[in-house]
């Protein structure tokens, strides 16, 4: 029983590892499988950080291009998914900073007339407003914890820090969110 559980827990890692191995020996379909498997997750992380579906879709392509190019350098010290999420977080934060810079150049009228992506309305309109005010790095933490429901260990791995640092950073991000949220509520 124990060995069965052990084997099952290893299965996910092995599946990704096998796909990585196949890609590295020239099997292009293996990468397509990885792409299909993780597209939604990477898109969700990127969407949470960028707060824009189109930007997120663009970021996903950038992220998988990076993975495609750098997969031979993947050292397997962590799970493939952890490595992928770290790239996703870093790349999305980077893009969010660029988008923020670009958005300053867009005047308000143009922004009003821009075609907004059609998405479901979320429950509390203040949340997205507050998220938009936060730094991309803080948004990344909140996205990973509250939206993607990653564990602290997984967040730490995705950010490249230890669990305590991840916990501290999450706590601070949450406090900053709360301050803005309460101010919006006034």
């Amino acid at each position: 029983m124990v060995s069965l559980l052990f084997d099952k827990s290893k299965a996910t890692f092995d599946e990704d590892g096998i796909l990585v191995d196949r890609f590295l020996v020239g099997d292009a379909t293996a990468f397509e499988q990885l792409y299909g498997k993780y597209y939604d997750k990477v898109f969700a992380i990127s969407r949470g950080i960028l707060l824009d579906a189109d930007e997120a879709a663009d970021a996903v392509q950038e992220i998988f291009t990076l993975v495609y190019r750098h997969l031979p350098r993947f050292d397997r010290r962590s799970k493939f998914s952890t490595w992928l999420f770290r790239i996703s977080v870093n790349r999305s934060i980077q893009q969010a900073r660029r988008v923020k810079y670009k958005s300053r150049l867009v005047d308000l009228d143009a922004a009003d007339h821009a075609a907004a992506p059609i998405e479901e309305d979320t429950s509390d309109p203040r949340i997205e407003g507050v998220m938009a005010e936060m730094a991309p790095a803080d948004r990344a933490l909140l996205t990973l914890f509250y939206w993607e429901e990653l564990s602290l260990q997984e967040i730490a791995d995705s950010l490249g820090c230890n669990v305590n640092a991840a916990k501290t950073r999450l706590y601070r991000a949450r406090e900053r969110f709360r301050l803005l949220y309460e101010r919006e509520g006034v």
């Binding site: 939604d40 189109d54 429950s123």
Partner: protein
């Protein structure tokens, strides 16, 4: 607003994130003063979780992955790191260049020739500091090659205060005085009535003023310091008795 104690703060976040209604009720019974704070946090966490955007890509199907031709642009941070690194390398290189190429030690010109053989102070002797012509070269270089920077409070020694060697044979007193002036940079004025005998002198490591005082005792004159670096030679006038 009252500051939330750290343990209560932690507990409230734990309950808010667990969304455990029973735990929240229990907390509110035990800490009624923090009831509204807990409710606020629970509402915030609930709102945050429910605000998760739908994972719906702009296109209904996952787009086919085609690696992009253009490499991702380097982050701007890398540019800053490169610029700072370059600055550090340049600064270190400049430091090395200055350390390996110290400015030449300042020298005091000394006249040479004939029977006159004045010479400057040996570099290894004396603690006097030379006042350089170039203010940027305000350091002397001891034989070891290491530079010594004088403490800011140390008195600056003027050129005429340096010690010199001077040997003269069969020269007139006036010529010797002129030679002392040239060698030591003392400005010497000679009052009328000065005797001018032929003399021999030999001084080692003496200042100009010391040489003049010694000569004055022997040949009957008094060196009067008029200003810094300027001396008036006054012959001794024999007082008539009565």
């Amino acid at each position: 607003m009252k500051r939330v104690p750290a343990d209560i703060d932690q507990l409230m976040w734990t309950i808010a994130e667990s969304a455990d209604v029973a735990a929240a009720d229990d907390f509110e019974r035990r800490f009624p003063e923090w009831k509204s704070e807990l409710e606020s946090r629970m509402a915030m966490v609930r709102g945050l979780r429910h605000a998760r955007p739908p994972v719906v890509a702009p296109t209904p199907v996952i787009p086919k992955f085609v690696p992009r031709a253009n490499p991702a642009p380097a982050p701007r941070r890398l540019g800053w790191v490169a610029a700072l690194s370059a600055t550090a390398v340049i600064a270190f290189g400049s430091f090395l260049w200055v350390a390996l190429n110290p400015p030449p030690p300042p020298t005091v010109p000394t006249p040479q020739g004939g029977q006159l053989s004045p010479s400057g102070p040996p570099a290894s002797e004396g603690s006097d500091q030379v006042l350089p012509d170039d203010p940027t070269a305000a350091q002397s270089t001891p034989p070891g090659g290491q530079q010594t920077v004088p403490p800011p409070t140390e008195r600056v020694v003027m050129p005429w205060e340096h010690r010199h060697d001077l040997s003269v044979a069969d020269a007139s007193l006036i010529d010797v005085l002129n030679l002392i002036s040239d060698t030591t940079k003392l400005k010497i004025e000679i009052a009328p009535g000065m005797p001018n005998p032929m003399i021999n002198v030999s001084y080692t490591q003496r200042t100009g003023m010391e040489m003049l005082v010694d000569l004055g005792r022997e040949y009957g004159f008094t060196p009067l310091e008029q200003a810094r670096g300027s001396v008036l030679i006054v012959p001794v006038v024999e007082q008539s008795g009565g």
